[in-house]
Symmetry: C2
DNA sequence: TAAATTTGACAACAGTTGTTGCTTATCCAA
DNA sequence: TTGGATAAGCAACAACTGTTGTCAAATTTA
């Protein structure tokens, strides 16, 4: 994300861009119709009008396609909120928590019974959250003199944010994402407080 | 784990127990030989001497079998260290962190390139860690008067422990699990400190 | 502009998956 | 001990997966 895949993509052969867009659009359409578990590569390529062998030239399997698609969708959410170009403060942490909550809730509403879909989605989202937090922490100069590194703090924080958001998304009677973010902010701040000084 | 699957299993038809044991043993043997990704249900049932249709009567697919097997193996580690029958303190948290580290390291050494295997394993391990921590927290009476519930703290803590252990296991030059546990204990304690008072 | 390279389509192939209905073997309860 | 219930074996089936080598079309490069 911070090593922008978009720049790399701008150099791609137009056929590659067109083929992947066709595949991805059909993929997301069919997921909305029948869920990830029931989808087949055959389904996707028939809908996309792309040969199966071509699919395999771009993606090893449907899991890789999901990984790629979720990654792009979440990256778009982050960029839309300008989180990738702002700096660390508790308000931005709150916005990040809300973003993750809304994204997981959206996924959950379509594929709530599909654990595999959700665990695959998790990996992409958590990775991007980690990169973002680490990027923010690296820009801060007022670091505490202790053994907890930025990497450790970013790891604990990104996994905790994801876990809490995931728990929230699965609750039947849930508060708003913003209320929830306020509720859990002390936990997240406690993590980060091990490596930085809050004002 | 706290609703003991072992008791339920003792009531099972002996043929079911025997069949599952055969399947599981063959499964673990073949994983050691050629990794999870390359394994097929056909492989497992041929090795086990069990019909494929019988396999499907017990497990929907190889992912479910992995889930079950990892769950059993990790449960055994927890019970072996008596973590399920002891109470909350920082030493036991440290032992839990070490246990998770060693377990992930063991998995990683066999299937390091297999992300799917690792994300499936994660779900089982994290669940059990969550149940254990929540169980410990529920026994403590000295709870802080704040909005962070035991469930939230257990969630943040279990995800953070898993994330940190996973990061450690993937490092090429890593400290011992015990050294690592000491290093990250402040982070974990900071999470838990949001809902309980430390002595 | 033309040659070189890359991408995608195609058909064929071997292998695996997941299910089904029927039969046999094993276990349990009376 | 026996009959009923359950578990497992079996073969067949339709469908899908993943790969391969060849050819045509599209793009890039010189």
């Amino acid at each position: 994300m911070l090593s922008n895949p978009k720049i790399e993509e701008e150099k791609l052969d137009p056929r590659i861009k067109r083929t992947r867009k066709l595949i991805q659009r059909s993929f997301m359409d069919i997921i909305a119709e029948k869920g990830f578990q029931s989808i087949s590569v055959q389904d996707v390529t028939a809908r996309a009008g792309v040969n199966r062998a071509t699919f395999y030239a771009h993606f090893p399997d449907k899991y890789a396609l999901l990984d790629y698609s979720i990654g792009e969708a979440f990256r778009r959410e982050i960029e839309q909120r300008m989180l990738n170009v702002c700096e660390f403060n508790l308000d931005n942490i709150r916005v990040l928590i809300v973003t993750v909550c809304e994204f997981i809730k959206n996924i959950h509403s379509h594929n709530s019974a599909d654990v595999q879909y959700q665990t695959l989605a998790e990996t992409q989202i958590r990775s991007q959250v980690y990169e973002l937090i680490l990027h923010w922490l690296e820009k801060i100069k007022t670091i505490k003199n202790c053994t907890v590194s930025r990497e450790r703090a970013a790891t604990a924080t990104s996994w905790a944010i994801y876990g809490l958001a995931h728990q929230w998304a699965h609750e039947k009677q849930k508060s708003s994402a913003k209320t929830f973010a306020d509720e859990v902010l002390p936990l997240i701040a406690a993590n980060l407080g091990q490596t930085i000084k809050f004002p």
